[in-house]
Amino acid sequence: MTLEILTPDQTVYKGEVTSVTVPGALGSFEVLNNHAPIISILEDGKVIIREGKTEQIYQIKGGVVEVIDNKVIVLAEGVVT
């Protein structure tokens, strides 16, 4: 599935991932392939991206996530690297 992390200042991440964990408003949750369509508010927290065995972590500042048809789009207000 593909993941995009967008902020108003830049596109932070764009690419294929195996799974991604996002800090949802009702608790952190993981999105895997063929996840049901969802729109969720995100709190400030960590987005953990896994691709094969490599793992990448971004600290985001609140936002919203949309998952549809194996496309994950994270809209964050900012990213602390």
Binding site: D9, G24, P37, I38, I39, E66, L75
Partner: protein, 296 residues
């Protein structure tokens, strides 16, 4: 015929002016590239945000978000986006002119009752309205030296707080929209209350709408997205104006360089004519002097 030395001095002075305008043009061209880049970077975020909001727009109709509540516009805030520096052609003059006609036209009654406040982003607009004793809010001239979403957000946040507290019932923003380097379009947009998206009854897209899982709830998502969308709107306005400023300056300086070139050309012509005339006079004097001597 002009004095030789005078003309020479003018040529030197115009050449150095030309060098300055040429340098300013190149600096603006480089900055313009950065500015347009920032706009391109913002676009995917802004579009996606709008998509999600329209997707949830059914609940926007009866949303309780304070930012979409229409009120009688008793007190009005006008956000004027100008630039910090001049020498950009009619860039700042145009923004201020549009703002003035908005205040004198649509908000004439509010203006009579002293209920129009100005929030100027950029020094030129701020100076103009402070001189004319308008209520100006805050000092936002430093925003262009470090233009980021976060910095613009703090300004938007104060505007939104003022709206919720009832300091203003309507917020309009005026800025130069960036079309291309040679063209800016002046735009007046309503920032608050957020205009409701036009109802699309029986829309084909509405039929095929995906059933999303919504966390925590549709209304909470909408309420959290509305402030983001307002912040994005103002950020876009500031970015657009920034790019327009450099575009306008580039064109203005290009014209100035060209004019200086023309001026130098015509000055050189008259310089050479004056020089030729001086030589001719001198020769005539020598020849007639010699003739007078040999005759005597």
């Amino acid at each position: 015929m002009a004095n030789l030395k005078e003309v020479r001095n003018r040529i030197v002075s115009i050449s150095s002016t030309q060098q300055i305008t040429k340098a300013m043009k190149m600096v603006s061209a480089a900055k313009l590239k950065r500015a347009t880049n920032a706009i391109v970077q913002l676009r995917p975020y802004a579009n996606k945000l709008k998509d999600i909001l329209t997707n949830l727009s059914t609940s926007l109709e009866d949303s309780t978000s304070p930012f979409i509540q229409e009120r009688e516009p008793v007190r009005v805030l006008v956000v004027v986006v100008s630039s910090n520096r001049g020498l950009a052609g009619a860039f700042n003059a145009n923004v201020i002119k549009t703002a003035n006609s908005l205040i004198a036209g649509k908000y004439a009654t509010q203006n009579q009752n002293q209920n129009v406040s100005i929030l100027a982003i950029g020094k030129k607009g701020k100076d103009f309205y402070e001189r004319r004793k308008y209520k100006t809010i805050g000092n936002h001239t430093e925003i262009f030296s470090d233009l980021s979403f976060e910095n613009v957000s703090t300004v938007t946040q104060t505007i939104m707080d003022g709206f919720v507290n009832g300091d203003y019932d309507r917020v309009d923003v005026i800025y130069n929209q960036f079309k291309n380097a040679g063209m800016q379009i002046l735009v007046t947009e309503q920032l608050l209350p957020l205009p409701r998206p036009a109802a699309k009854a029986g829309d084909a897209a509405a039929e095929s709408r995906v059933d999303y899982i919504l966390e925590p709830s549709q209304e909470e998502i909408v309420n959290s997205l509305i402030p983001k969308s307002i912040k994005t709107q103002l950020y876009k306005a500031v970015l657009d104006s920034w790019a327009s400023e450099h575009g306008a300056r580039m064109t203005a300086m290009d014209k100035a360089t060209e004019n200086a070139g023309d001026l130098i050309k015509s000055l050189k012509l008259s310089y050479n004519q004056a020089r030729q005339a001086a030589i001719t006079t001198e020769l005539t004097e020598i020849v007639s002097g010699a003739a007078a001597l040999s005759n005597g």
